[in-house]
Symmetry: C2
Subunit: 342 residues, 2 copies
Amino acid sequence: MGGIDISTTIKDVARHTGLSISTISKYLNGGNVLPDNRRNIEAAIHELGFKVNEIARGLKTSRTMTVGVLIPSLENIFFTSIVSNIENVLLNNRYGVILCDYRQDKRLEIEKLNFLVDKMVDGIVMVPQGVSNEHIMPVVKAGIPLVFIDRVIKGIDCDAVLADNAEASFKAVEQLIIRGHRRIGIICGPREIFTTEERLRGYIAAFEHYGLMVDRDLIKFGNYQVDGGHRLLLELLDSDSAPTAVFVTNYEMTLGAIMAVNERNIRIPRDLSLIGFDNLEMARIVKPSLSIVAQPIQQIGETAARILLDRIKNGPGSPQVHRLKADVLINESLSYISREES
Amino acid sequence: MGGIDISTTIKDVARHTGLSISTISKYLNGGNVLPDNRRNIEAAIHELGFKVNEIARGLKTSRTMTVGVLIPSLENIFFTSIVSNIENVLLNNRYGVILCDYRQDKRLEIEKLNFLVDKMVDGIVMVPQGVSNEHIMPVVKAGIPLVFIDRVIKGIDCDAVLADNAEASFKAVEQLIIRGHRRIGIICGPREIFTTEERLRGYIAAFEHYGLMVDRDLIKFGNYQVDGGHRLLLELLDSDSAPTAVFVTNYEMTLGAIMAVNERNIRIPRDLSLIGFDNLEMARIVKPSLSIVAQPIQQIGETAARILLDRIKNGPGSPQVHRLKADVLINESLSYISREES
DNA sequence: TTGTAGGCGTTATCAA
DNA sequence: TTGATAACGCCTACAA
């Protein structure tokens, strides 16, 4: 009833060459074989269209040649872009990617993490949100290398690859301060998320560094989604102490903010200076071109994949947190403002 | 050197209960076991934390409990949203999703398709682009159920789930015609892609149905990406016979088109009527709210997953093409126009 | 209902 | 270098 599966096995190759199964196996795994036999084997493999049965191999080696990737949402292009890069590196090493998203749900996050463990993936890359040490236990116990991306979790000692959010945020806000802005709004993500906290920290650090006061009313917490960016930008504009500049801290909310700006006929940068987040392409297309914080998406994905491959190959080592620099790209969306105005 | 793997096996459960391996196995597969033994087994399983080794099971049953999903790009939210829904249904059936994107590259598409076959996935859902019958052969030969989504390929007889593009397109353009528009631009995808052709067909059909002439200059072919939508909308605006309405045929290009509109200070719908594609959320947020063709994303994903599960379970049947209706959501971005104007 | 035994395709050990 | 043989963990006749 199952698959038709006419796949050839090592046995067939053995028969076809007159050699033994173990010789073929040794050849397949890079062992030494007499030149004559080698040619023979290769011819047979080609002729029979033989492919190693990864399942059977996995049963012996307890390796599945698959890696689990777990992200909060498949509808967030920042995460899916990273996945794209991870997948690329991994596939070049003959690893497949088992992908799960947990729809921002902590219960699902844990459930799917365990699912990946049950699937006996050889390694896991994940964006952690609600997991704590107890949930990571099964992973560690199973000896599965784990790499966090985009965030770290306090108390969990684990390899991680993420942007230096605080620094990036600092540099972005600094650009606004330098240009004379004092009332600078920030549209953050959800309070409980790691990057929210870090990006806000950079914002505050910039103010402190320049000896300025932070106005709490200009700090808005959103949902990292389009509608949140839209709503919060309007809130800022409508507040009593409306800002002269706004910093939006992820891509989706940047999109929403731009829409709000257009809706209100706000002229950028004359009426409002704006710095967004991620997605180079969009920054270029918008007129006037948008200044943004650009995370090194490709680098994050590739680094995570490489570290994981290394751990899979060479076993565990002392966990390292890789902080990658994000660029602040200055474009036309920033204005200079005289002190009196502000 | 490999994983620490302290996983318990059926053997352990057998020892722990004093029963034989085959009895445990039978229990696991839903066979009949004496009530006493059943309780015993369940207790042991719980106590030992036993989980079936899917790899070993797979070696016998030649099932991997994984499904391959192959899409053109992980940076296209339409596809990733579908994947999200597929993954959801599949995981509820204990299937994992091995995800590949082929970066719009025909060579990669074939390569990754073969990769999935080599991985012995139990089924494949894919968005086909450049594959032809010869590439599908290995899949069919391996007895792997295959479901196309979003597109079909002429000459390949295969289950498929996709929106009724032509009809959706017809209805969208009809709304413009009804409102008096005659010079209606369309921003299509790449010429060689299936949906491009279908959506254009609907556009043309609408004109024919109302006895109107199609102006070839108002038909633009793009790349289904943000920059394409942006560039082509400007091209349309700048052409000699500038349209009074434009229909944009995917989400990313709609985004680009909106940006172009804002950049030029075009007032929607006074200066230009606009119908976009996909992504309800964005349509709501933009002011004035955007009219769009909304594909049944969730339904597409879930249907594809269900069909695949059915094929995996019940074996092949005569291929069916499931056409799902797309909605045309009318919002504020459409104006009525008097004949003389047009 | 339960247990014995053989095999799925591969790797790994150890003689030859 | 090569080959017989025993696993890996599970399923499945078949026999008890």
